[in-house]
Symmetry: C2
Subunit: 450 residues, 2 copies
């Protein structure tokens, strides 16, 4: 460690165990291994110096942003060096004419969005944690969010990257242009690779025109989750093109109600929150309301003011914190073809009932992306066997329905044991070999993602 | 060859030199090498059998679709086996509820679009050749098109792939869902890899809602190409979100006029054709018209009927064939940040003047994607030195302006000599190593793309 401390400016290397521990976790229950140290890098060259040292000494490196991940990708492993990018916070360029921004990995997601809005633009990806998550973490996990039903995930907004490899070499992938097909898509390969291929030190990101008006918003309540899921299918099939379409089950609503007193009706089993930011948003939202009513909604109301709309969306954004008040949480993230949403929901309910586990479910319903949150007693260091048994049922149901283990959170440590079910042996082999091209010593976040 | 003929159903292997020759070219001037044979595959298993044979005998394989490529990726090389996928023409699934289609590689692009339209959906990517190009070729080159200014390129519509590797192993990448982050993005890696990593035998493609009404269309004429380019920048900056924004220079318009007599005015140096398929398309098109006039348009007219609009777009789609009437063509494909469009156009004009080369230019202007077509005498087997000198200037200008060598046509054989200027040594090395993971014997379309 002395060599590393000497090679970097003062204050970059942390060795105090308590401070290291504050950089060792993400938002999962996973207990970290004991890290040898943490580097709080401020420049690309400091990242390169750090990785060269790690390569020379064969020390595994766990890169991280804000630690808001939900799958353990940023969880420290025994003997590792933590490499935090959260201090690289510059937006180095924002070009309204080209609709691009160039950002360092420690930029907070919502800060980039706000910077873009000052020019009539927006940065579309908005994971629920976007007020505290970093661009670097979003890139590492290919983060989704509420708006991605219309605007796509982080990869869809990424044009180019600057990356430092494990041996300290620096490369630039992609481009500043809207299109480009020179060579293989290395940009897409790094996005979502959970820090296992290299460390992203700068990203060229696509901005989009921000809608001129605030979105129109509707909330609808249902006496069954399946009815709500049917309304989702109808809304998509009718071409309403929502910019947000979120579904909350009763357990989630109850957790929010217990905390914030939102006046939850006794009969309400599900709430659907939809938005449209299109030029004809009023028409689109009215149609969504009709389709909710046709599918059994007991109540459907269009927000009359932007403030009312914001309050509704705030309810959705409170969901995760509300559940954390109930106990420790295993947050899952299956994604199925949209037509399979009702069946997926039934499978989640059945798994919860069979194993007597409280599951609160929210869904980015327009994408078929379902987040069942398995709640367990904080007394347990990790989820008890019945939780894993229920989760196993949920994963297998998602795959059976043509879906995937993870829509937007990533594999990290949490989903490794199910990975082979989805990827198959050929893909598994290829992924290991691709990792070896970028990281032949296997020091980049080993044991994660693949 | 006897083993291969015996291993495949009758009629799959072509050995007649004249027939082989008909599968040996794309739409470039490039003369092919003499192929040993051609396989016209009908199933995934036939592809696997073919590739296993090629691996066993170390025979290079050149996969192809319809041969509409413009960079030589499908040009036969000496001693190769041509593997044509154009007979695998099934659309095996089309799900309106999930907005996806599953298609074999030989499906004609426009046929898939028409099949989707029957359900109120569309397949967005529309390279100019879409009436004759195949989905497999579009995937291999990550094809763009006119609509991609709004809907993105082929990769943006690709969810998952079935691929046969050089050794005959079959893998499935990606998913059927809108989102998914299990493992590395192998789907994105195969798209645009020009047949150098494996052979795509099936693709799961994203469909989108087709607009309810025909798009609104505007055409504007300018007395300078730079004015037209400035109008493009203004249209993008104003947030008009065109679904098409095409720019044609006088040389192109003259070639079309000489052929189809479109009534070209003497003073017209450029024409801009814009479309909007948004819900407020009339408003968007009217605004585009104002911006054209503010930027010096001598004439700007909104089409009053869909038929009139189709005729205008047909003018754009004639551009390539009109130029082919003038002589042999080197079709180029640089892409720059949109703000650099006027400078890029000036650089093209300067290169043409300096080297006394006729260059006809069209641009997918909303993307900054410029197609300068260098016309030369058919007597030459390949472009004469002054054409290459002018092209070299154009490529270097694109890179200097922050752009790329190829926006949508690919590298193929044509752009290899400039590749290192854009990719740099680290990316070049990584790409070679990635290819070796998938194709360790280097039999898949060797010497192309990277």
């Amino acid at each position: 460690m002395k060599d590393l401390i000497a090679a970097l400016p003062e204050g970059r290397v942390v060795t105090d165990p308590d401070v290291i521990d504050s950089y060792a976790r993400d938002r999962t229950f996973l207990g970290p291994g004991q890290a040898a140290g943490a580097v709080l890098a401020r420049t690309r060259d400091e990242v390169a110096t750090t990785l060269k040292w790690a390569s020379a000494h064969r020390v595994p490196v766990v890169p991280r942003g804000a630690g808001t991940g939900l799958a353990g990708a940023a969880t420290a492993i025994e003997g590792c060096l933590i490499l935090s990018l959260h201090r690289m916070t510059a937006i180095t360029e924002l070009s309204p004419a080209d609709e691009i921004a160039v950002a360092q990995p420690g930029v907070i997601t919502a800060d980039l969005d706000r910077a873009a809005r000052a020019h009539g633009l927006m940065y579309a990806p908005d994971p629920s944690s976007y007020e505290i998550s970093t661009i670097g973490g979003n890139l590492a996990t290919n983060a989704g969010g509420l708006r991605c039903v219309k605007y796509g995930v982080t990869r869809d907004s990424t044009l180019g990257l600057e990356v430092v490899l494990a041996d300290g070499r620096v490369l630039n992938t992609g481009r500043r242009t809207m299109k480009g097909v020179t060579g293989y898509d290395l940009t897409g390969l790094f996005v979502g690779s959970e820090g296992t291929l290299g460390v992203i030190t700068e990203a060229t990101l696509r901005l989009r025109r921000a809608p001129a008006e605030p979105p129109a918003t509707i909330a609808a309540e249902f006496t069954s989750f399946r009815d709500a899921a049917a309304a989702v299918a109808a809304i998509i099939a009718a071409g309403c093109q929502p910019s947000m379409l979120e579904l909350l089950d009763r357990a989630t609503l109850k957790a929010i109600d217990d905390w914030k007193h939102i006046g939850l009706e006794a009969a309400t089993q599900a709430m659907l929150i939809g938005q449209s930011d299109a030029a004809d948003s009023a028409t689109a939202i009215a149609r969504m309301g009709e389709l909710c009513e046709e599918n059994g909604a007991t109540f459907a109301a269009v927000s009359s003011t932007p403030q009312e709309a914001e309050e509704l969306v705030a309810v959705r954004r409170l969901a995760y914190e509300a559940k954390e008040r109930l106990g420790a949480c295993l947050v899952e993230d299956v994604c199925v073809p949209r037509s399979a949403l009702p069946e997926m929901i039934s499978a989640v309910e059945a798994a919860g009932a069979r194993h007597d586990v409280l599951i609160c479910t929210v869904a980015h319903a327009g994408d078929g992306n379902v987040h069942p949150v398995f709640v367990f007693d904080r007394g347990f260091a990790e989820p008890p066997p019945q939780v894993w048994a229920a989760a196993d049922e949920v994963f297998r149901a998602a795959l059976r329905l043509g879906g995937t283990l993870t829509g937007e959170h990533g594999v990290g440590l949490l989903k490794r044991r199910w990975l082979a079910l989805e990827a198959g042996p050929v893909v598994t082999d290829l992924q290991r070999e691709i990792k070896a091209v970028f990281d032949p010593l296997n020091i980049m976040n080993p044991g994660k993602a693949i």
